[in-house]
Symmetry: C2
Subunit: 263 residues, 2 copies
């Protein structure tokens, strides 16, 4: 793949689309798939440890999203650029759109950006990601389908010194139609510690993508957060995807049977 792994002078892509032709009922989004920063933007004043940590991306999220897109034969739209440059899951006027501090780390390269630099970040990553997501989702809608939009994320086990007990969290807002049956299935059939609107909730401003591409259109949707210490290997990524795929599929089938309470 071209995004997230380029070296100096190589091609990179602000956004990638996978399996667009998939016949499944989902569209997966991965806003924090990559920690790639174009060479022209240097290191933002950060060391390599910070640039590979959760402040730069959601480690493991792309692996889970890709596996789910495969298991459920559905498209995936993934950003190719680090959230340190710009957070594709934030309103463009959000204070943490281009974070000057993330968790406990100051980001010198994001301090005192002028309007031109802000605009550059928006055009480089935010605009292409959402244009691609909109294209993929609106094409399905135009074909008479009502895809469920699922956004994949990972979270750090310790945030600002506080341990987080949840192994997986499901984030939902005004319409829990898709979240509720998945929460129930996780409770009924697994021993995982599951967060319900934890470790984040829409009040934290993390629902931008899903609101824009699903909630506002009346499409089923769900944000999934997995603790990143449980996503250290491809096998773990695959494992979460194998666990979640049938739950998502059953939840969506339940919605379809109920005649679309989510409309």
């Amino acid at each position: 793949m071209a995004y997230g792994s380029s070296a100096v002078g190589e091609t990179y892509a602000p956004v990638g689309i996978e399996n667009e032709t998939g016949a499944g009922g989902f569209v997966f989004l991965c806003e924090h798939a990559s920690n790639y920063i174009p060479p022209s933007m240097g290191t933002l004043g950060l060391d390599s440890e910070a640039l590979s940590s959760h402040i730069a991306w959601d480690p493991g999220a792309l692996g889970v999203a890709r596996a789910l897109a495969g298991l459920l034969d559905s498209p995936l739209v993934a950003s190719g650029l680090s959230r340190l440059l710009i957070d594709c899951n934030r309103e463009t006027d959000a204070p943490d759109l281009i974070p000057v501090r993330s968790e406990l780390t100051d980001i010198p390269g994001n301090a005192d950006l002028d309007e031109a630099a802000r605009r550059h970040r928006i055009n480089l990553a935010h605009v292409p990601f959402h244009a691609a997501a909109e294209a993929v989702i609106s094409a399905r809608c135009a074909a008479g389908l009502r895809p469920a939009v699922v956004s994949l994320h990972s979270f750090t086990p310790v945030y600002k010194g506080v341990s987080r007990p949840w192994e997986i969290g499901l984030i939902h807002d005004r319409d829990p139609a898709l979240a509720a049956p998945v929460l129930k299935a996780l409770a009924d059939t697994t021993t995982h510690v599951v967060g319900d609107n934890e470790p984040y909730s829409p009040a934290d401003g993390v629902f931008y993508s899903l609101d824009r591409h699903a909630q506002s259109l009346g499409l089923p949707h769900l944000m999934i957060e997995i603790r990143n210490d449980l996503l250290k290997t491809p096998a773990q990524e695959q494992g979460w995807a194998r666990l979640l795929a049938p739950l998502l599929k059953d939840a969506l089938a339940g919605l379809d049977r109920s005649g679309g309470t989510h409309a």
Copy 2:
């Protein structure tokens, strides 16, 4: 590279950026770099011959653009999708934005598109391409540079039955600052048959990208068209790039010495 060469189910990128960190004075654009059509969109009713012909892309243009970006150490922004889906070098209200006929070929898959389908095409390819171009160019401007924007194209030797004598054409509009010295150098130092606003001119609506990303900003710019029967091999692509690179470099140096008549 990920764009322009994907098979079913593979990743593809609506736009790619190469050598963004290059220290040279140019930004190269290639709107018709690829004939890739996502599997979800089928074949638009065309046979494989049409899908690989000049109506689908500008064969050879990416090779020349990439070689120039290397020789002049400058960024390249290239579309990853076929012009048959949408022409990134047209206004979004142009009648040939999504062509229903190209040269002598009807394009069934483009007939009678509704607004949703039109919107999908725009978001899939046009928006990401121009967002990426704007990001790359505006970042240079914000850094106090005034990059020259050069768009690379190729044209078919016979169009609607009429042979075209030109081997290369330079297209320019209200500001010939960069075009004029390159035209003169080609006339003085080569035996090529050179078109001056041939085989197209801005009156044909082909100046959209350069107007948007350069002329309207007062940046030097030039559109280069090379006849595609002279771009059959990588060696030919490299040859044109080696010919053009010093001419472009000298032309830009002349502008800089003259203190920017193009401002």
